[in-house]
Amino acid sequence: MPKLIKNGQIEEDRWTLLKEASGPEVLQAVPGKNFLVPLQFWQRYADEMASYAGEFAVWLDSDERAEEIGDELHSIPVIALNFPVFTDGRSYSNARELRERFGYRGEIRALGDVLRDQIYYLSRCGFDAFAIRYDQDPEACLRAFEDFRDSYQSSIAEPDPLFRRR
């Protein structure tokens, strides 16, 4: 099971990830789970999800936008943003948009190629959960939140940039 860091702790992950290729038949095969589904699944299988005994959350790839989710955004408990490779920086902007433009207050989870050395910046952009890659040391990842004591810019946790505080 992939390791999850949430709110600065190592946690059990209660969500089951559905990759892109999955169709609604998977719901019949495994009853009673909580599924993290791709955006397309979310958009296409509303009826199937409604009749399933379990919760749903959504993940977006780095080229997908939160505005495609629509009005239900705020009722979704988790929105995960994917990193196909760690050098793809689009999900940093997507996380900020979720928090700042849409005011989303649920969990924003980093998914995919999520490494220790990205965690500090990710957390400043509004991610509060990290499904770290299988080979990452969770204890080392916890220390990443303390890489820097302060920063110049506005962030989700500290909207005032340093120049308004110094």
Partner: protein
Amino acid sequence: MYHYDQYDQQMLTDRVAQFRDQTDRYLAGKLSEQEFLPLRLQNGLYVQRLAPMLRIAVPYGLLSSQQLRKLAFIARHFDKGYGHFTTRQNIQFNWPALEDVPDILAHLAEVEMHAIQTSGNCIRNTTTDQFAGVARDELEDSRPYCEIIRQWSTFHPEFAYLPRKFKIAVCGTRVDQAATQVHDIGVFLVAGPDQAVGFRILAGGGLGRTPVIGQEIFEFVEKRDLLTALEAILRVYNREGRRDNKYKARIKILVRESGLDDFRGKVMAEWARIRGGPQTLTDAEIERCRAYFVDPPYLSLSDEPDALGQALADNFLFASWYQHNVHAHKKPGYASVTVAFKETGVAPGDVTDVQLEVLAQLADEFSFGEVRISHRQNVVLADVEQQRLFDLWQRLSSDALASSNHGLLTDAICCPGGDFCALANAKSIPIAEAIQRKFNDPDELHGIGELSLNISGCMNACGHHHVGNIGVLGVDKKGEEFYQLSLGGSSRNDASLGKILGPAFAQEDIPEVIGKLLAVYRAHRDPGESFLETYRRIGMAPYKEQVYAKAD
């Protein structure tokens, strides 16, 4: 100049510790080559042909004498005794050992220096005019805004993994010395409605394999809106810039492919959402940064003192140096001096540990303890008393730093090229040297007059060949090095991109071809006309004919 407070210093200390840990993990095999790559690049560390190369940030080109002495120390202890001034006002070392880099960074941190974001796909060092704060034609000193941009862009969490590198330049003068229009973002200080100073902002300029002049995104933004405007441009670029092909990943391609109106529309929509938000600058912050760049304690002097006139009349060599290397200053009785690092036989921009110490000493004695690096890879002493110019020139002469070729043919811009750089197709330093050797007669050189010669060893264009009056580009043809020439480029306000002359030449033919180009210029020029002006008047044809004419 700007001085760190406890916040700036703490961030630097944290950065050194972070990079030490990353290097340790890499050396222990816990971090793969591929995963270490962006981390080391964002600390200025390349792995090159012969050894790693470490690029150290010199924010907007400004250095104190204390920092120069530290760089001399690093050159001596961690390198082979020299460094290299770059076209982005930084300095790089070609021979450090990878495992020494955390220690080098710790030394730099002692003098408020670092290598943060000098490479990698992030926002790079912000550059400006080397005469900022002393130029006569300045609307306002650009350096406080460079510093504000430096702080905003340093460790910006959202923009550390952009599609490609991102360069910002700021210009506060009427004559643009910083090649501002060929940057990813070019910021110009301008007077707006009711004469209040604000910014005009261009985006999508750049050199590289597709050279483009930036296009206007913001006609005028107020000072307080600077960072939100930049952030809006960066956010659109981060999300929409191409990531499938690194040669099409710069913002210039995004602006071109989306169309200016569409791109601008997206930026404006983004800006509308964040304008007035927490990143909006406060008057207090602008004043805090401006306070670091107030005038030094100038004496009350008058222009052209008698002693200077006498020395100019008595000494031809001094007069020649004065004509080319001394620049007007906003303060009566003062001048700015370019110390040219273009000695024949030495790679353009190369500087030894001893020269760095000499510069530090001269800065202390003649220019309030500061120097500036220019994008033409020279060093400027910005605040010299005119009555002491002769004294300074003698001191420079005794240290072989009094070349009077500033702004002339042999003051070439040149990238490290195939001798050092893993990306290069061809060598560039020997081209510069061959030209310097052929045109070594000062009379001839001064007769040719103002001319920019820019040499790049590959189409990444670190030597800015597109905007040289004469540009030289190294190309690889079936494993052999050839050189393509272009004419008519300029990085000033009248920015233009050079046009290719014709088929490429072998290395040994370049000096002779340059000679032919200059012969055409001298045959056609009107009195007082520069190389660029003559070219613009008569066009490419006469040069082409002369160079490619068949001998019969």
